[in-house]
Symmetry: C2
Subunit: 320 residues, 2 copies
């Protein structure tokens, strides 16, 4: 891989602070991430940065309306669990209120429907979990608490596209100290379009003005400066989601050529839970859940993570 001079920032990189407001806490979070990477890196662990969930793109500066991307965060949150099982330390850069590791298993459950008062004790008794409402809760809770105590999971939240872009850059810089031991697993559904702050109306767009014409610019591709400038030694995976299967693999190959990173996980909206293709420059792995595996509630992310951690091992050994 040709490494450019890290001080020569790319066009994408330069525009970032001009077009997208810098979140006030970015330096603080960057320090947290850098400490996390150094701590685990020096303990011989690999660190994966997982991005997860959709980005919010405001249409007004005092935002009432926004453009969003469909993404529950299921892929990212589930993958985080398998990376933790594989011994990775995980930075989980996720959209506020998107699915979270372990907790995701109980999403859609109304918490008050899953609790009951201890009988005959009134307000002073314990409140108990109804285990039928929360299957496997004792086991999942134990695992969740063990991960928390281990310090192997660092959650970081974003909400808007601007926050996502700046925090991703900060993460990439924070992880550059551990070189090839860092993996980027970019599963978030990032908007391709945005409205520059300078062209955004301050107040709520008035419907009395008639039909709405929205004109959006293209979001700079962060993958380019990430691979070239911010974390040139890291193992970088991007995701490609399409609704039209016929253009998917071609788009995955084109992305690898354009950005020169290690792999694309390609998937189609309708089948994304049971079938993906991991595309690298020289290989193409089809990963599939069998009917039997689906019945056993196996998850495709288990296979994706197994595939990628093996490829990461090979990648690290080639760098030495």
């Amino acid at each position: 891989m040709a490494h450019s001079n890290p001080s020569a920032s790319s066009a994408e990189d330069r525009g970032l602070s001009e077009e997208f407001a810098v979140p006030s806490h970015v330096e603080e979070v960057k320090k947290l991430m850098a400490d996390f990477a150094e701590h685990h890196g020096s303990a011989g662990r690999r660190v994966v940065l997982i991005t997860s969930g959709g980005t919010k793109v405001p249409l007004e500066s005092r935002t009432v309306r926004f453009l969003d991307n469909f993404s529950s965060g299921r892929r990212g949150s589930s993958s985080a669990e398998y990376f933790l099982d594989s011994g990775y330390a995980v930075i989980f850069l996720h959209r506020h209120r998107s699915l979270y590791p372990y907790t995701r298993l109980y999403t859609g459950v109304n918490i008050l429907d899953s609790l009951q008062l201890e009988t005959d004790k009134g307000d002073t008794g314990h409140v108990l979990v109804n285990k039928e409402a929360l299957p496997n809760i004792a086991k999942v809770l134990k695992r969740y608490q063990a991960v928390k105590v281990s310090g192997l999971l660092l959650p970081v939240e974003f909400n808007t596209l601007s926050e996502y872009l700046h925090l991703l850059k900060a993460a990439a810089q924070a992880l550059s100290s551990i070189g090839s031991k860092a993996m980027f697993y970019l599963a978030a559904a990032v908007s391709d379009f945005y409205i520059p702050a300078s062209e955004m109306p301050e107040h709520k767009i008035q419907s009395s003005n008639g039909p709405l014409q929205i004109s959006m610019k293209m979001v700079p591709k962060m993958l380019s400066p990430l691979v070239k400038d911010w974390a040139p030694q890291a193992f970088v995976i991007s995701f490609k989601l399409e609704t039209n299967p016929s253009i998917l693999l071609e788009k995955a190959r084109r992305a690898l050529e354009t950005y020169n990173h290690q792999a694309v996980v390609a998937n189609v909206l309708d089948t994304r839970r049971g079938y993906v293709v991991v595309v690298t420059k020289d290989t193409q792995y089809e990963l599939l859940l069998t009917d039997e595996e689906v019945q056993k509630e196996a998850e495709i992310e288990d296979k994706i993570v197994t595939n990628l951690t093996a490829a990461h091992s090979q990648f690290i050994s080639q760098q030495i």
Copy 2:
């Protein structure tokens, strides 16, 4: 109020099924709502239809991207509790995963952070709630369970703008049997703009095509057929949220003149939790939380509901 012939549907009404796909379960839900209204109406209760949360407007028919409105559903879910306290039966027409009565008090709490395993019992023991993580949980849980048993709360979910529009129409027709005992409390943040199904691309919009131009049509105002045709005897409240305080009251008055309904709750984005103005044809009530009330965690919805239930009583007495 001038009642038009109910069979002469308005222009807004006629366009509904043509431009917005009819959800498959709408007739089933309408029956549920009609039975609910009849049951509680004949028991002498009033029924309020609360709408809550934002609407999702797809940009593609196999949706990856959508336009959304900022709305947590806090106003609607909190108001539902005060209506239940006031003896109303409540149909809670809310956006999927927006805030829900009672449960809203624990939003943002990770459920796994609020539970603990009973000591020394392994996987077979109880799982208990950590009461510090969920303040007042025993009291709230009791109230939630009592409401559930009482059958006074009927939750109905929507996700897209199309679902919202059709379910609102169904609700209005379902509640028409109880006449002036029905209240509509339209707190949802409904999109003003949409893309007609006929103009929507099937597949994900390709960013390689360059900058995005979105052209959106204006959503028909449902308030007009609701007041004129669907539920002409009901007590109808709309909400007006603006970011610019200087145009707020004028817009509220104009809405009352246009739609000929009973009241507008006018509020400004930045101050909406502590200050609203209830505007009727002849009156204008400013409702405000004092600093002391804010400290005691009082909610402005308590005052809004008190104001409107009194106005509803007066409205009912005038119809007889």
